[in-house]
Symmetry: D2
């Protein structure tokens, strides 16, 4: 099981997001509380929007908790939108090109979960990827294949529809290969302005996904917490596991649903797979 977090809000040092919270993602990389696997030591990555419209990505196959370069740059990166992901490989090689977030043009994508039977489904999934995108795939993960399927189905125009079609395609394909319950996913994607998050699994038992409560409301609940005044009111966090125990801070994204997060705004809607015609 991988873990990830997404931040949207006032420009902030990445260090504040990655290393400061009591139960930060980096800390989680060593000790999980909700996860099945204990360790996320198979590489990590961050993606952020800064100079120019195309996001930057920094990825490494070192465990996140001992990567000194990550600490160094996290003190220098100030960003209004950051993705961070720590990986636990399910078999594919530990190499930079298999680390999340994946990028295409202005888009970032990260995934926690797996596609059951990927070894058998891979070829057909890759054939369904738009030929013009095919050679952009550099790694060997199910996550990157799913991203390129979504791109093929129009992620850049309508993310929820594209993801619904990618899901539908995989479930249809799995059925034809005799693979039950192929999909398990919490996904985040962004174009630098909004963040779309998805929680879905074929068997309707998806791994956890939480979004943060409105900061203004949190300040009313916890007026003594200084950190809440350092965060802008438009702040949004999305996390696979809560960053710290704080009553009222975290809301679970419901099963089979997605949300669009703009600064200070969000909408949760049902996610229904769209099978190929």
């Amino acid at each position: 099981m991988c873990r990830w977090m997404a931040y949207s809000g006032e420009p902030i040092l990445a260090e504040e997001l990655l290393f400061r919270p009591v139960h930060s993602l980096i800390d989680q990389s060593l000790h999980s509380r909700l996860g099945v696997e204990t360790t996320n030591g198979d590489g990590f990555g961050i993606g952020w929007y800064g100079e120019g419209p195309v996001p930057a990505v920094f990825k490494s196959i070192d465990p996140a908790w001992n990567d000194r370069n990550l600490r160094e740059i996290s003190r220098q990166i100030r960003t209004p939108l950051l993705f961070a992901h720590i990986r636990a490989s399910t078999g594919t090689p530990v190499q930079r090109s298999n680390c999340h977030p994946f990028r295409y043009d202005r888009w970032l994508w990260m995934h926690n979960g797996a596609i059951a039977g990927f070894h058998d489904l891979k070829r057909d999934m890759m054939l369904a990827v738009d030929p013009s995108l095919y050679a952009e795939i550099e790694g060997s993960t199910d996550s990157e294949a799913l991203f390129h399927l979504a791109l093929t189905y129009g992620l850049a125009e309508d993310p929820p529809s594209a993801v619904a079609r990618a899901i539908g395609f995989v479930e249809d394909l799995a059925r034809r290969h005799g693979v039950a319950d192929p999909l398990q996913m919490t996904v985040a994607t962004s174009d630098g302005e909004s963040i779309w998050i998805f929680r879905y699994s074929s068997e309707r038992r998806t791994r956890s996904l939480f979004y943060s409560t409105d900061i203004a409301q949190l300040r009313r609940l916890h007026p003594e917490l200084e950190v809440l005044y350092r965060l802008g009111t438009g702040t949004r966090f999305v996390v696979s596991e809560p960053l710290r125990d704080l009553t009222g801070a975290w809301n679970e994204v419901p099963e089979s649903s997605y949300a669009v997060l703009h600064p200070g705004e969000q909408q949760i809607l049902p996610l229904r797979p769209v099978e190929p015609g």
Copy 2:
């Protein structure tokens, strides 16, 4: 341009092959004499036959010349058949899964050269790979794709025919995509008993490839050279660049040809692409 060497003969310490020669492959990794690029610092790999029928591979993305683990294990590996390869990337990521030699079952494969227009040809090449082999491809190089094409065309049964068909397929495909002179390759492959080597390029200007003169004959030419008595009479070297300057030691493999090397025996034959259909 990559570089490689293959050894077949009496079991010998890998160190003798990799680090001892005056102009060894490791030394070449820093300083080329015949090559275009000056440096082969984008990863390396060795493959060898030892315990069991399946060869072992050791690959790293560190430059070969400063990899201490390579030095350590090369003093412990005693093998009758070794492949070694140093890489100069032409753009694909520097990651372990892109390092040569590639392995499938008992087979090793390494390649120096490139497929022009690979970005455009890649999808069709991958589609032509046998579906049962498709998901075994872990990296993103033209070399690994070519290997799997050759496997698809029966490498394990008849290597020269399989390679001729793989070449023919790529040239036919390139023609349809408007890519001129797609192939540039010197390739070595082995099943642990014989080594097959191939020198071919679509424009008939293939990079260099040499095989060593019979040791008995070399001893007559250079009776003063002690090292020649440490090597068995069945010894065969194949190299992209001569390991040391020694009159009479190296014979160029002719353009568009291949050879089969058994201990103490070899046969050079013309290599003619076999186009599909």
Copy 3:
């Protein structure tokens, strides 16, 4: 907390030792049972005796569980004496030169534990190292410093005495710096023929250390266990945590003691620090 294991016995494939046991060291690197830290992902190393009197070492800063080269070479290394160590850094950099086992000439050394206040004691420890050995120290750990202190005090002539003096030196030094209970250590060292193991901590609460029961006796206890017939009767394992749950298989090394293991023989004696002069 690090973890380690040592094997002495009939020549055996490293794979049998590292990957086959139910609760192997590699498995432990992901999931500890007795340890405080959950993860040993800060590099690993193995050392073994094979060709020639000087042992080979293979070390990497990748987590052991996902290092493919370790898997590859472990299927080719056949050795009568192997050390393996997985690291959890307490702050010093994750770099090859800080990975265990350390080597000097024919000697290997690995350590689980720490020297409290090492930052303050380091300079004086290094000054106490024999000047001819000083420049051989390549890393920055307390473990390597302790090894070179022991070498200075005659490890190659009389390991128990040298270690007792190294311990005494550190405790005396710590006292002068106002550092309480400086030492925490389980150590293994070897010259390729015998293995010496040490369990000691200044506060007499040393981390666990176990040695294996005589194989002949184990066969009587567990006649159904096939694996016991694959191991020679002179087999000795020493481990920081038992490799598998097996009644009667593991014996704890007592607090403040050391043992010498020859094939088929062992002797446990008290370890008493010898303070400098």
Copy 4:
């Protein structure tokens, strides 16, 4: 031989400095023109001033030319003062802690050159380092030792005097050890406001070091060069090898001298070793 460059001027993207010039440092890492060794593939590092007074460092043991993270972050780092260094090891391990620039508090330090006989001189050099600084040394290079000697001699108060005393100490020490001509160095150091550069070798044959001509003057010489209008008039480059061939652009720092570079100002003065006591 290593290579380095330093930039001071208007805040600029690191990418402009590292990847854009025709003969950039990254390009030099593959192909040297003035150097003896052909390749600088043994790690690299950059240091820069940005958020906060303490500079950030990003270092890696991958060759600079194929490090994708370096490309990524160089598009996001905007800095008025950058150091960059590519390493060719002379034997010490290729590990992050041996990569330049080194940092202490607000200070950066990078070095091209070597201390002859360092293996023999190391212990005495380390003893001369202020005990409070001793444990800060993480790597094993002569360059880092020299930095800490300079810190010991007051680098933070008076850099030229501290470096003169460090040089004097090493030359005196070498004489006592029978090592001739111990020092070979071009060094840059900075506190984030000024840059001090040093060119010195005991045998007075120091490797090359160049500083850039005043931009206003360069614009008069090359009015057609657009790039000169993108650089502020206070721009200063210091490089071990010229970044591009441009008549009048580069001035050699004379043998045995140092310079202080403030924005738009510089002063070249003789450097005379100050021996101890």
